[in-house]
Amino acid sequence: MNNPIIAPENLVYEKSKLIKDNVMHYCPGCSHGTVHHIIAEVIEEMGMEDKAMGVAPVGCAVFIYKYIDVDFAESAHGRAPALATAMKRLRPDKLVFTYQGDGDLAAIGTAETIHACNRGENIAIIFINNGIYGMTGGQMAPTTLNAMKTSTCPYGRNVALNGYPLKITNLLAELEGTCYVTRQSVHTAVAVKKTKKAIRKAFENSMEGKGTSIVEVVSTCNSGWKMSPVQANRWMVENMFPFFPLGDLKDK
C-alpha cells in the first residue's frame, strides 16, 4: 500500500494474500465476509493455494470466487457436493471444498449433501446457517426457527404449516462417511478463532483422506432478519444457539 492508514508498527492484522481487492457485496454485519477471510487465511497458512479448488453455491456467496483467489467452479443450486465429488475423485491430490448456505445445502441440495457425506467423499463442506434465504430477499429456509418471521412466513414459522427447522448437521454426524462434524460461529473474536481451527482441521482431514468434514457456521443475516448487526448478533446468541448449540458433533 502506498498510503498506509495504519502505521506499520500498529498493524496487528493483515488480510490474507488470497483475499482479492474487490469490494465485497455483502451487507455490513454479514458473516460471509468473515468466513471468507478465514478460508483464505487457512489456505494460505497451509500453503495450499496451488491445490485448492472451491465450489461456489447459489445464494449470497455465489460470487465467493471474486473474493478468494483460488480456482472455483460455480454450482447449480444445491449441487455443490456432487461437483466436489467428481473434482476430488478426478484430482485426488487437490483440496476440494464447498461453501453452501442453508437453502442450498439443507433444502434443494439435501440429497447431494447426504449422499456425498454418506460416501465419505474426501471433501470439506463449509455450511453457512443463517436461517433465511438472503439473496432472494429473506424467505423461509429449512433452518428458519419456529415462530421466526420471514417474507414467506410473515407471521412466523408455523410448524403445523411448514414443519420443523432441520438440524441437518446432526443428521450428517450420524453418517458413517463423515469424520468431522462441528458447529461454530463468528460473532466474537474467540468464535472466529475456533471456526478457523475447525476449517483447518476439515481441510487437513480431506487431504488425509479421512472422509467428509462439515463445518457449520451459525451466522447472522441482519438485513434478512431486519436488525442492526449488533442486534442480529444478540438475537443469534439468544435464539439460534439454544436450537443450534455450538461445538463438535463428531470428531473421529
Binding site: 491445490k51 470466487y65 447449480a76 440429497a111
Partner: protein, 357 residues
C-alpha cells in the same frame, strides 16, 4: 488380429469409453441403458486406465458430477434414458452456460412421463431444440448401429472439446439393446495433467505454478457482458453448423422419393428402400448422423430431384419440422411415425410412402 466382438450397443458405449481415454463416468440405473453402468463396473477400468466410475444417487447428481469433472478439463460422461435425461436438463443447461465439454448418452424410451421401457425417438425436440433453459445447443450424434455406438463416443468427446459444447449421443432402446458385430476402437491413453493444462487452460487444477485463478461459471449480472458471452457461444454454433454436419445416403443418386430417418428408424428404412426398389419405385434414404447441426442443405439439395419426402420417426413427428424447414415448401413432406414403443416394419413404411404418390 482384428479386435472384433459381438455385443450390445450399450456395452459398446462402455468399452469405447474405456478405450478412448475417458476419465470419468457418472450414472444412475434406468432401463434400457443400465448395461452401460453395469459393463463399466464389471470391467473395473479404475484398475486398468484409472478411469473413475461412480453410481450416483440420482440423475441430477450424476450430471452435476459431470459438471465437476468437466470443470477440471477431464473427459467425463454420463448416460441415461428419457425420464432420467429430463432430470439432467438443469445440469445440461449449466454445462452449456459454462461452455464445458462432456458426453451425454440418451438411450431413448417412449414417454411422456414414465411412459414405456420400449424404444422411441420422442426426445428429438428436447435434444435438438434446447431441453433445459436458455439459448443453447448440444452437438447431437445419432448412431444407427452398434459399431457407431462405439465410434461416436470418441467422436463425441473430440467435437465437444474442440468447440466446448456438450455432445449428446441420441440413440434408442433398439440400438442400445441389440447385439451386433463391431470392431472396438484402439486404446488411447488418458490425458495427463500437463496435457490437460495445455489443451484446457481454463480448467481447474488448483493454481498450479502460480497461474492466475480459473473460474468456471455460467453467471454474469451485467447484461452487456452476458449478451457478449451468448453471442460468442452462438458464433461457435455457426462454426459447428458450417463444419460438422454429417449424414449418410443410401440409393439417393436417382431417387424420386426421399425418405429421411435417423437411428434405428433409418435401419428399417434401408430395408424399405430395397423393397420399394424391387417394386420399381425409385426410393432413397437420407440419414442425418448429426441431428444438430442438422443437414438442412443436403436435404434442400434433393428438392430439385425428388417428388416428395417422407420422414419416418418413432414419434408423432418431430424431425419432420426440420425437414420442412430445409425444403421450405418446395416439395411435399409427410411423416410416418409409431409411438409407445412400437417399432414399424419395413412394409408399413413402403405402404406409407406409396400413399404419398
Amino acid at each position: 488380429m482384428e479386435d472384433i466382438h459381438l455385443m450390445k450397443g450399450n456395452e459398446a458405449i462402455a468399452h469405447a469409453a474405456i478405450r478412448c481415454g475417458c476419465d470419468g463416468y457418472f450414472g444412475y440405473p434406468i432401463t434400457p441403458q443400465s448395461e452401460i453402468l453395469e459393463t463399466l463396473m464389471e470391467e473395473q477400468p479404475w484398475d486398468s486406465t484409472g478411469m473413475v466410475c461412480l453410481q450416483a444417487e440420482s440423475e441430477v447428481a450424476a450430471i452435476n458430477m459431470v459438471f465437476g469433472g468437466a470443470s477440471c478439463g477431464k473427459k467425463v460422461m454420463t448416460s441415461s434414458s428419457s425420464p432420467g435425461v429430463s432430470l439432467k436438463q438443469e445440469g445440461i443447461s449449466y454445462l452449456c452456460g459454462a461452455d464445458l465439454p462432456c458426453l451425454i448418452v440418451n438411450v431413448m424410451r417412449g414417454g411422456p412421463g414414465l411412459g414405456t421401457i420400449q424404444p422411441s425417438q420422442s426426445d428429438y425436440f428436447q435434444s435438438t431444440k434446447g431441453g433445459g433453459h436458455g439459448d443453447y445447443h448440444l452437438i447431437v450424434l445419432a448412431p444407427n448401429s452398434v459399431q457407431e455406438m462405439a465410434d461416436f463416443v470418441d467422436l463425441g468427446f473430440d467435437l465437444s472439446f474442440k468447440y466446448r459444447i456438450p455432445a449428446l449421443i441420441l440413440t434408442d432402446g433398439v440400438i442400445g439393446q441389440m447385439m451386433e458385430k463391431l470392431r472396438l476402437p484402439a486404446f488411447k491413453p488418458r490425458a495427463t495433467d500437463e496435457e490437460i493444462a495445455a489443451k484446457c487452460p481454463w480448467s481447474l487444477s488448483g493454481r498450479t505454478n502460480k497461474r492466475p485463478q480459473n473460474i468456471i461459471s455460467s453467471l454474469e449480472l451485467d447484461p452487456a457482458i452476458m449478451e457478449k458471452r451468448n453471442l460468442e457461444r452462438h458464433e461457435r454454433y455457426r462454426k459447428v453448423e458450417a463444419a460438422e454436419v454429417r449424414y449418410d445416403t443410401f440409393m439417393c443418386d436417382d431417387a424420386e422419393f426421399l425418405i429421411v430417418a435417423f437411428g434405428c428408424a433409418a435401419r428399417i428404412c434401408q430395408k424399405s428402400v430395397e423393397l420399394l426398389r424391387e417394386q420399381g419405385i425409385k426410393a432413397g434414404l437420407l440419414r442425418p448422423i448429426t441431428l444438430w447441426p442438422f443437414p438442412y442443405k443436403a436435404i434442400e439439395g434433393y428438392c430439385r430431384q425428388v417428388r416428395s419426402i417422407l420422414t419416418v420417426e418413432l414419434n408423432a413427428g418431430q424431425m419432420v419440422e426440420d425437414v420442412r424447414l430445409a425444403v421450405e415448401g418446395k416439395v411435399p413432406v409427410s411423416h410416418y411415425g409409431r409411438m409407445g414403443g412400437i417399432v414399424p416394419a419395413p412394409e408399413e413404411i413402403v405402404e406409407a410412402l406409396k400413399k404419398n404418390f
